[in-house]
Structures are given as structure tokens and as C-alpha cells.
């Protein structure tokens, strides 16, 4: 019951932020993006639902997507990931962590010379498949990689002590 309330609050705050962004002219509603992530997708904890939203369920698997992520992440709070799509005409990269409370991590659009390649650091609550959905020329492509976490990354601050004992890499 408590957690439902929190999810509701999270959804509400996320959508108001997007509304603000729209008001500020930073995001145009319904522009350019074929499939737009809804604001509250960042509060949804149903992996299949959000995968569907983002085009992942109708995506074909592709070998043209490089995902560089450790097989074993020492601490889930900071997992480095690099995604590079070699599919011609790639327009966007979405990153999802299946077992996270909020599976969708980010979606990046590339245009005007930007290469469909992104490197960042993500949180992983526990060991999970990490999914990547690419949109290229109106089609969707999918690749995934399984990552084991030694220490989960969405909980308390204990990961800093864990980091010291795991510094063998």
C-alpha cells in the first residue's frame, strides 16, 4: 500500500516535470518522435508495458548493435554502459534494465550528424538483462546482455564500503 502511494507520487512528479518542460518550450509535444516515451514511463514498473511503448516487443533482434557493459558489475549504483548501433539510419537508442523498479533508463535521439552511439553510467538494483532498442528508418531492433551485480545499486549508501572491498578491477 505504501509502495503504491510512492509510485503514484513518483508518476505525478515526473509528469509535472514534463509539463513544465513543454511549457518552457524545451519539448514539443508530439514532435519528430515516432514513438514518444510518456512522462510516466519513467514511473512504470511493468517491463513488458514499457517495452511495448518503446517499440521493443515488435523489434527484430540484430547483431548490428554493440553493447559494452561488464558481465559482472561490482556495484549496481554505477554500471558503465556504451551502446553503438551499426544499423544504417539509426535514430534512437533506448536502454532498459529489466529487473529495475523503473525499467526504462533513458532514450537518446540522434540527428544532424550525431552518431547513434552513447556511453553513460546506469543503476542496476540487481542482476538483470539489460535491453537496448534501436529505431532505424521506422523499424525497431533489439539486443540484450545479461549483467550480474555484486552489490545492488538502488538501495542505501552501503555501496561505498562495498566499492573498497571490490576494487580488484
Amino acid at each position: 500500500m505504501d509502495s503504491t502511494r510512492r509510485k503514484l507520487m513518483l508518476g505525478a512528479s515526473a509528469s509535472s516535470a514534463i509539463a513544465l518542460a513543454i511549457a518552457a518550450g524545451l519539448m514539443k509535444p508530439g514532435s519528430a518522435h515516432a514513438i514518444e516515451l510518456k512522462a510516466n514511463d519513467f514511473g512504470v514498473n511493468d517491463f513488458d508495458a514499457v517495452m511495448n511503448e518503446i517499440g521493443g516487443l515488435k523489434a527484430q533482434s540484430s547483431a548490428g548493435i554493440d553493447i559494452a557493459i561488464p558481465d559482472i558489475a561490482e556495484q549496481g549504483a554505477i554500471v558503465p554502459i556504451e551502446v553503438y548501433s551499426h544499423i544504417p539510419g539509426s535514430e534512437s537508442i533506448a536502454i532498459l534494465v529489466e529487473n529495475n523498479a523503473i525499467p526504462v533508463v533513458a532514450k537518446f535521439e540522434f540527428k544532424n550528424g550525431a552518431i547513434a552511439r552513447i556511453a553513460t553510467r546506469i543503476k542496476m538494483a540487481e542482476s538483470s538483462p539489460v535491453h537496448v532498442v534501436i529505431r532505424a528508418g521506422g523499424q525497431y531492433f533489439h539486443a540484450s546482455k545479461s549483467v550480474k551485480t555484486v552489490i545492488g545499486g538502488c538501495g542505501d549508501e552501503s555501496f561505498t564500503s562495498g566499492m573498497k572491498s571490490q576494487s580488484n578491477k
Partner: protein
């Protein structure tokens, strides 16, 4: 107000590799502090980049990005003197941006 962010662009051939480090707590809203109180959600919702004022990258992000987000992206057809700007907005309406010139 938001802390300063770092940005750096290196030219490799005609491709600019842009690295960007943002100071931000990226609180999910699911975490509890030591007193057991939920820490309010506070995370970046959008990160975008421009090359000489033209948008090249637009990211919708959530709290699944690690604290102090680090981002690397690549822009083709870049040359020395080009200006790259990265800006972000968070769920509280706070925002910041940083600009660099390819050297």
C-alpha cells in the same frame, strides 16, 4: 541552484567525442534515508546537445541514470572552432548548461 558541470570535446578525424559530467543527486524517490523517510525523487528528465546551435542529441532520461551523470556522445562532420552545448532539465524544473569549443 545547480552546481557547475564539466564538458570536453576532442576531435578524432572529423568526429567530435564529447564527454560531459553533470553534478546531480539523481534520487529515484524509492530510497529511504537513515530515519526511514523516503528521499524525494530528484532526477534529470532531459539532456540535450547542440552543435553550433543545431540540436544533435536529445535524451529523455529517468532516475536509472547513476548519480552525477556521465555522458559521452559522438558528432560527425565537426571541425575546430565548432561550439558544442549540453543542457539538462530536472523534475523540479532546475536546469543548467555548459558550452565548449572544439580546440
Amino acid at each position: 541552484m545547480a552546481e557547475a558541470m564539466k564538458i570536453r570535446a576532442d576531435l578524432i578525424g572529423n568526429v567530435a567525442k564529447v564527454k560531459c559530467l553533470i553534478n546531480h543527486p539523481m534520487e529515484t524517490g524509492l530510497r529511504k534515508d537513515k530515519a526511514g523517510q523516503a528521499v524525494p525523487a530528484h532526477y534529470i528528465t532531459q539532456i540535450s546537445a547542440t552543435l553550433n546551435g543545431v540540436q544533435v542529441m536529445d535524451g529523455q532520461v529517468g532516475s536509472g541514470i547513476s548519480r552525477n551523470p556521465f555522458l559521452v556522445f559522438w558528432i560527425e562532420r565537426s571541425k575546430p572552432g565548432d561550439k558544442i552545448m549540453v543542457s539538462w532539465v530536472d523534475n523540479t524544473g532546475d536546469k543548467n548548461s555548459a558550452e565548449t569549443t572544439i580546440g
